[in-house]
């Protein structure tokens, strides 16, 4: 089994040697052919078996959206609103902020059934409701972690502490990129900065760093330092790079270190990214109707803009686009984080663009091969948090049951899967642990999670560690 992955594991240096590419030919041949090689992640590799999806857009609703107010209605909570939760649920539980015996909190929002599938979706998400028949809503996801940073790391890397590769970097390592001008794994941030877990959320852990997520920023510099300094003319840059290439090539001829060839190619790709990245990020070329549908405004830093960007990246062959939108941490300590004001705002910032993205991908024939994933790092409690006696409605972190939805490549359409108990506290049917989720996502991309391994510190690591089962009910 190791043999299959051996070519991916070998260093570029060994690859050069074993593929019989003499060092002299590197120096002389056109470097363009080796650009993909230099980028490492930038060359596509075959999956283990036929892939159902070629790429992923992960809409990471950072902070933990309230499943009970969005996708998993609980009439009993409404009935027993403000009554103490039965102790059988909370014995031995630890909460981030709740103290004493918490009281149940019925959702203040109305639910209705939508689409032919009759999916139950909250009034806060009218646009998502309009694409209900495209969605597989899974109400039975669970995690091991109840604080943001560990839970984010767990959702991304399958491990609650830093140091493991993220899903996107595993994909970059496993199947590479289909575009040599752009990274295989791109991260977009909105809603106020980066997640608590920091850049480890898209880190490459022990995988080579070429596989880490590259943050595209909002505004003028979509990639750090992608723009030339103001006093450098583009033609000067090109002439400078030509001279640089000549000098580096001369050194390569003398020293015969293949790393020099890689560096030469990296400068050429950097030069192309200087064009491709700003072109990619320039939304002004999108038709007004498309921007309108997403609610996007060129030049703004917003989730809607990032959704348009995500589609543009998928069109250009980026393998994994991860959008973080912060602010779902609805504790209810004030209007900035309560249900009635803050959760409503968060939904308003994201709902329309999420739906537009799915529709847009479908219209362009991309949805069949693109998997869209929506969800946070954990869910929220069925109880009101009432931190320090707060009068604002809010819910604490909840790892035992939460909702995610999926659309596109290889997943069922128009279905609600999984079930929680009558309070929404625990999963009672079709549980999907984060490890199972990872196994399933890799499966959809044509990768067997037990075979996608990398040797570090003396053992073979994988995204799912020693766990994970493909979640069959989700598969189309």
């Amino acid at each position: 089994m190791r043999d299959e992955l051996e070519p991916r594991r070998c260093t570029r240096r060994e690859w050069l040697r074993d593929c019989g590419i003499g060092l002299g030919s590197i120096a002389l041949a056109s470097l363009d052919a080796k650009d993909a090689l230099a980028a490492g992640a930038g060359s596509a590799r075959p999956p283990h078996f036929r892939a159902r999806a070629k790429s992923v857009i992960h809409l990471f609703m950072n902070g933990g959206p309230s499943q009970i107010d969005l996708f998993d209605p609980k009439p009993m909570l409404v009935e027993r609103n403000r009554q103490p939760i039965p102790e059988s649920f909370t014995n031995g539980e630890r909460f981030a902020f709740i103290k004493g015996t918490p009281k149940l909190l019925g959702s203040p929002f109305a639910f209705a059934r939508h689409g032919r599938s009759g999916a139950e979706i909250s009034e806060l998400l009218p646009h998502t409701a309009s694409i209900a028949d495209e969605l597989a809503i899974v109400r039975s996801v669970k995690t091991d972690q109840f604080n943001h940073a560990p839970a984010e790391l767990f959702m991304n890397t399958g491990f609650a502490r830093i140091g493991r590769p993220s899903l996107g970097s595993w994909l970059s390592y496993g199947i590479g990129s289909a575009n040599a001008d752009l990274p295989a794994f791109v991260v977009l941030l909105s809603g106020g900065g980066q997640p608590s877990g920091g850049y480890s959320c898209w880190g490459s852990g022990f995988l080579p760093t070429e596989h880490q997520g590259v943050v595209f920023r909002s505004g003028r510099d979509p990639v750090l330092f992608v723009n030339d300094p103001p006093d450098v003319a583009r033609d000067s840059r090109r002439r400078g790079l030509d001279a640089l290439r000549a000098l580096n090539r001369r050194r390569l001829d003398t020293v015969r270190d293949p790393e020099i060839a890689t560096r030469i190619a990296a400068y050429e790709m950097a030069f192309r990214m200087q064009t491709s990245a700003p072109e990619l990020a320039d939304l002004s070329t999108e038709p007004a109707a498309v921007l309108e549908e997403y609610g996007a405004t060129p030049g703004e830093a917003s989730f809607a803009n990032n959704c348009v960007l995500a589609r543009r990246m998928i069109e250009r062959g980026v393998r994994f686009v991860q959008l973080y939108h912060r602010g779902w941490d609805s504790h209810g300590t004030g209007t900035h984080d309560d249900l009635l004001t803050s959760l409503r705002e968060r939904c308003a910032q994201t709902d329309r663009a999420c739906a537009a993205l799915v529709r847009d991908l479908k219209r362009r024939g991309l949805l069949d091969e693109t998997l869209v994933v929506w969800g946070g790092e954990f869910g929220r409690t069925p109880m009101n948090e009432e931190r320090d006696g707060s009068q604002f409605l809010g819910r604490d972190h909840h790892p035992h049951a939460f909702t995610m939805w999926f659309a596109g490549g290889g997943v069922k359409r128009g279905i609600t899967i999984g079930e929680t108990d009558e309070l929404g506290y625990f999963v009672v049917r079709d549980p999907v642990h984060v490890h199972d989720l990872h196994a399933t996502l890799l499966h959809l991309l044509g990768l067997e999670h037990t075979r996608l391994t990398y040797r570090s510190q003396g053992r073979d690591f994988r995204l799912t560690d020693v766990h994970g089962e493909v979640f069959a009910p989700l598969l189309a």
Binding site: R94, A149, P208, T209, R239, A270
Partner: protein, 721 residues
């Protein structure tokens, strides 16, 4: 070539003494290929486990024992692997060959022992055996070695039928030495003085000058910061500021004074427990306080206290023991002899403490001033007083339990502090950090000298003898030169654990002085440079990339120590939701300090460092990867800090009075690479200059800035070669 590759690997496995077969070393690898997939672990087929002696030699239900110790002929296992019928094992795949069957027979006839110790009571695995002091081997080219290191290296090269690379030219050596020992390129004055020094010992004098320079101490300290995972913030969600720079400065002082590494070890781990411990001794224990602190709501303090202790143990395991101790937290180590009990007995040494601080005014280089932490004011508007986190032994001893599954919520049996059974015992019976530090520096403990000698070898030669710096266990890489490693480890201890003298030994060797350019035969035979028949060519590390650029531009500040600084950084890097701390750019020379002084925020480290593979410093990192990416090109081309260096280099070239264009270019080229360009290289740059002048006829500086940009982006400029 294949033969050579095989011979490189064989050296280690056959180095153990005698003919005795050891299950883990000799037998298990054969079984692993053919048998263990079905016959191991609790789910083993036919309940026969070939990884468990009791299962192997005991009857299972109606089945007789698979192995009869001392009677291979009577053992069904042998019968089955020899069979050519339907009952052959393994049922699928290739059969065992005659040599493998003979090995199994011999092992069974010898008693089918699973014992990991040989007849002398030494563990079979090379890293756990006592350190020998092998005699340097004989060599054919007796005139090549400059010291005993070279004899070990040359013997291997000659055995492979190859030749060492010729000595590199002097300018290359001057640059390589400066980068390896100080993390800076030589200034042209230093370079010219060395090139012009006619004395026989000019090389050694140059080395000694580098070792005596303040830049040496900063450079060595920087390597220590990754291991300690030093940072200026707590980590996790809130990632607030902390003041650990006095500890960092104390580390610089220690390398400057060449504090013997055994004493340094005792200070870092237990300085506070030394008799009459000073504030400086206590600050040294900040080493163990570089653990992260979670300030998030709802965290269980005990959970994070336990995590911090586990992190300290993990760090000590990697830094001194070269061992992946963490694997033994939840269960016995799967590959190495550490048991879970060993883990928690080691844990107990570190489990007796409580947090403490030393006021920052005691910072060794701070000149006695009391520092206030800049940044967001406290709620009452007052600036916060800073103090350095240090270790302190708690008044009440804490009982350590083995945690089932590694979880602090599942304590089981209580254990006393103690060291792993398979390693030499400590001399005293102490149970605190001081006792642990004493054991780590006890010459009978074979791991620390090997691990440290290997790490220093990696710093000096850019290619360690054991590639897995933090894993000397059975899953790590074996040493390329096991005898040299032992010789060096013993030499390091014999010479009083002096880091400076040890590095001097290494860099004055003929091995070190080789060219990085190898002939085709060597490249073919040894692409990974396992034989050290040439110098290793590697891109310098992130902070050094910065330091080189500023130094080549002539604008690097040489101010030493003090609070961490804030060089220019793009907007938006520090935007965090739970922390409104702001990056406020430093003024004056603090913008231009060495990379190791840059403020290190764990959740958002300095962007150009990240791009050049710097870690987040959340846990101990023994080896940084060395990537080579387009994003690095963009940093070198466009990061304002690097653009500033380009402009400065242009000024250095322009300010040469009465110089020709060619002379100016040669000057810049030498600043960047320490060598003179050849005619073709010079012409390339003169042509570029001419094109830029044509394109921008009115500009004086701009064409030179383009040239400077090329010089600072050369592969050679950021490479140790």
């Amino acid at each position: 070539m294949r033969l050579l590759a095989a011979s490189l690997l064989i050296v280690v496995t056959s180095s153990a003494s005698g003919d005795e077969l050891i299950y883990d070393r000799d037998v298990r690898p054969v079984l692993a290929v053919h048998c263990l997939r079905c016959h191991s672990g609790p789910q083993a087929k036919a309940e026969l486990r070939l990884d468990d002696r009791a299962s192997l030699v005991g009857a299972r239900g109606d089945s007789p024992a698979a192995v009869v110790p001392s009677a291979a002929d009577a053992s069904p296992l042998i019968e089955r692997v020899r069979s050519t019928g339907d009952d052959r094992m393994p049922p699928k795949g290739p059969a065992l060959d005659a040599a493998q069957i003979a090995l199994l027979e011999r092992w069974i006839d010898d008693g089918a022992s699973f014992d990991a110790l040989d007849a002398n009571g030494h563990h079979w695995h090379w890293a756990y055996r006592p350190i020998a002091r092998p005699a340097p081997p004989p060599v054919v080219r007796a005139d090549w070695p400059r010291n005993d290191v070279d004899r070990f290296v040359l013997a291997r090269i000659e055995a492979a039928g190859l030749e060492p690379a010729p000595e590199a030219d002097r300018a290359t050596l001057a640059r390589r030495l400066a980068l390896d020992l100080t993390g800076l390129p030589p200034t042209l004055e230093e370079l010219d003085a060395f090139l012009a020094d006619p004395r026989d010992d000019a090389y050694e004098r140059y080395v000694d000058a580098l070792l005596a320079s303040p830049a040496y101490a900063e450079h060595l300290a920087r390597t220590w910061l990754d291991l300690a995972h030093y940072a200026d913030t707590h980590g996790y969600e809130k990632d607030g500021r902390r003041s650990m720079w006095p500890w960092r400065d104390a580390v610089i002082d220690a390398f400057d004074e060449d504090v013997p590494f055994d004493a340094f070890t005792r200070q870092q781990i237990a300085g506070d427990l030394q008799p009459d411990a000073s504030a400086t001794d206590r600050i040294a224990t900040g080493f163990l306080r570089n653990t992260m602190i979670n300030e998030e709501g709802g965290v269980d303090p005990e959970e994070y206290r336990v995590e911090a202790v586990a992190d300290r143990l993990n760090t000590i395991g990697a830094v001194w023991l070269g061992s992946t101790l963490t694997c033994a937290r939840c269960h016995d180590h799967k590959y190495d002899p550490f048991t879970q009990r060993d883990y928690f007995r080691l844990f107990a040494f570190l489990n007796q403490d409580e947090p403490d601080t030393v006021p920052t005014s005691h910072g060794s280089l701070a000149g006695g001033a009391t520092e206030t932490v800049p940044g967001p004011p406290a709620a009452d508007g007052a600036a916060t007083q800073a103090s350095t986190l240090v270790m302190k032994k708690a008044d009440t001893p804490r009982t350590t339990h083995v945690f089932a599954g590694g979880s602090f919520l599942s304590p089981t049996v209580a254990v006393d502090a103690g060291t792993p059974e398979f390693l030499p015992r400590p001399t005293g019976d102490g149970r605190d950090r001081a006792a642990l530090a004493a054991w780590l520096t006890d010459p009978s403990n074979p791991l620390p000298p090997r691990v440290l000698a290997n790490r220093l070898f990696g710093i000096a030669l850019a290619r360690p003898l054991v590639a897995t710096l933090d894993d000397f266990g059975t899953q790590g890489d074996p040493p390329t030169h096991p005898e040299l490693l032992d010789w060096l480890a013993s030499e390091f201890v014999r010479d009083g654990w002096s880091v400076k003298r040890f590095l001097r030994l290494l860099v004055t060797s003929a091995t070190y002085r080789q060219s990085s350019i190898a002939d085709a035969a060597t490249l073919d035979a040894d692409p990974g440079n396992r034989l050290l028949a040439r110098a290793q060519r590697v891109r310098v590390e992130a902070e050094v990339v910065r330091d080189v650029a500023l130094s080549v531009g002539g604008i690097l500040s040489r101010k030493r120590g003090g609070p961490s600084v804030f060089p220019p950084q793009p907007d938006g890097i520090w935007t965090m939701i739970y922390n409104d701390d702001r990056w406020v750019e430093s003024a004056g020379e603090d913008r231009l300090r060495r990379g190791l002084y840059t403020f290190w925020r764990r959740t958002a480290p300095y962007p150009s460092f990240v791009t050049f593979d710097a870690p987040s410093r959340e846990t101990c990192i023994a080896t940084r990867p060395r990537s080579n990416t387009p994003l690095q090109a963009l940093v070198l081309l466009n990061d304002p800090a690097f653009v500033e260096a380009q402009h400065a280099l242009a000024s250095r070239m322009l300010e040469r009075a009465d110089a020709t264009d060619a002379q100016r270019i040669v000057h810049g080229f030498r600043r960047a690479t320490s060598r003179v360009p050849d005619a073709v290289e010079l012409d390339t740059l003169l042509d570029l200059l001419a094109s830029e002048r044509t394109a921008h006829p009115d500009a004086i500086e701009a064409p030179w800035r383009v040239v400077a940009g090329v010089l600072l982006n050369l592969d050679e400029t950021i490479t140790r070669s």
